[in-house]
Symmetry: C2
Subunit: 328 residues, 2 copies
Amino acid sequence: MKRVSIGIDIGGTNTAIGVVDRDGKVLVKDSIPTAKHGNIDLFVDDMTTAIRELVNSVKQLNPQIEILGLGIGAPNANYYTGTIEHAPNLSFKGVIPLVKLLEPNFPDLKAIAITNDANAAAIGEMIYGGAKGMKNFVVYTLGTGVGSGIVVNGDLVYGHDGFAGECGHMTVVSEGRSCGCGGKGHLEAYCSAPGMKRTAFELLSKYNATSSPLAQKCFNELDSKMIFEAAEKGDKVALEVFELTGKWLGMGLANTVHHTSPEAIFLFGGPTAAGNYIFRPAIDSMEQHLLPIFKNRVKILPSQLKAGDAAIVGASALVYKELEKLLN
Amino acid sequence: MKRVSIGIDIGGTNTAIGVVDRDGKVLVKDSIPTAKHGNIDLFVDDMTTAIRELVNSVKQLNPQIEILGLGIGAPNANYYTGTIEHAPNLSFKGVIPLVKLLEPNFPDLKAIAITNDANAAAIGEMIYGGAKGMKNFVVYTLGTGVGSGIVVNGDLVYGHDGFAGECGHMTVVSEGRSCGCGGKGHLEAYCSAPGMKRTAFELLSKYNATSSPLAQKCFNELDSKMIFEAAEKGDKVALEVFELTGKWLGMGLANTVHHTSPEAIFLFGGPTAAGNYIFRPAIDSMEQHLLPIFKNRVKILPSQLKAGDAAIVGASALVYKELEKLLN
């Protein structure tokens, strides 16, 4: 009997679904459009059909397979209540009881659970990735936004209301840049992919850097990959973008260390593909901002989850954490 | 049989010891000088003698009393290892295995444990104070420094190495004031009692405020109580000190909420005696810095531990958390 779990990643445009084995390998996967019409019942029907088809196809490959459960990653998901609450990028408004809506369709499954994307990434790192065996660690996800999942004593921190781990919205620059949430100076406004673009445009303005390759892109065109490519060619503006992004990120990392004293913080997402362009200044800045008792004791590591499948793999890992709890 | 525990608060100058009942009431207490000579063995002997005398005196009052254990609060204490590590304000250098040194002297006790002062305050708040029944909360201690104790799922967060909860050293002003730890712009440099004094002197300079009563005190004389008294008389400089202190404190509180999503944050220590002079601007600033999902959901409350005895009461509460763990 081979036991597997199903990971579901609900994004603004598409919902990815995959059957994942205990080693974090995706056996089969599919993608359906995330409904734009706000009709949650139709969306649940579509998801259910897609899941059943995947289960059938995987059972044809190996009839001995047992499906343990569904793990779902979604924006503004509340683990405690099994709901998605007021997610700005989804068409479903209000509070959506997704777990309750799915349960009747899958009565044989031992666990159906939901959490936000960054928490799913943290559980994925713990079950399949670089955090195996760690009891205290954090994952920062850098992408369109900055998210985080915090693990203390082997369990994800959900807090009083299920929404803990919003490190992207801590203030790193007092009265700084506008953040998408309405706040000012938040980490996300500096260290997300759009934040890096904003830094690039600030520096183009500051230096009047007409000869930078970044000067040939309009604001809505430039992305963090282009900045990386320019840095690799030695462009000074691009190199400084990474230095500054790392500086701000390191401040955030240090604040997190001062809160929960993790063994390691994993960085996940597009901008981390730039490797030491971002890791080195981030580590330097973090060390500079740490209390002496923490200096040189906290590892900053790249996520070990494979980029393409990480969201569904992370979500599927939630199932194993649920089953652990049922055993206790 | 009445069960009590012993709380010990090791400070730079004195060490306070008290026998505390299950309601957080101090039955008897004593104080010995914290050794200045760096000889830990002599200090352990002195503590042992003082504890035995207190136990004898409390047993004379009530022979039915059972002593459950010793809880110790000390700077740079490591709960995991039972040690005090490189505490700058104590004469004992290096790593002091205090719990191991005390154990042979008290073979009948069920628990001897140590943690830092702010963690002890958090456990005290949970066992005896305003956090009874709360599973997720934080205590900020404002005094000579700014400390914190973070509770997640009913347990104190110690982190990977025992030193979690150093919220006082998160950066709230990039490249800001020097902090005692060597860092810059840390919360402690703004919201501790000396931080408030520094703000007062900045404002005296800014406004050339010769008519403020604060202008009559030298830098080494002014304290947070004087600032409070001046504020009560309507002094504009003193009132602005509280506004600014609250603003920075609120930024720190918001960062903490974004990490662990607590039900409440308790404020403890001298500066909090100013009540709404500090609570109102702190709450306003926190709300302004919070993500919408957290707004108006986190209570900022004064500590319910009685100021004079809080340190020994908090330390004594550690014993009950230890006994809970022995039961599991």
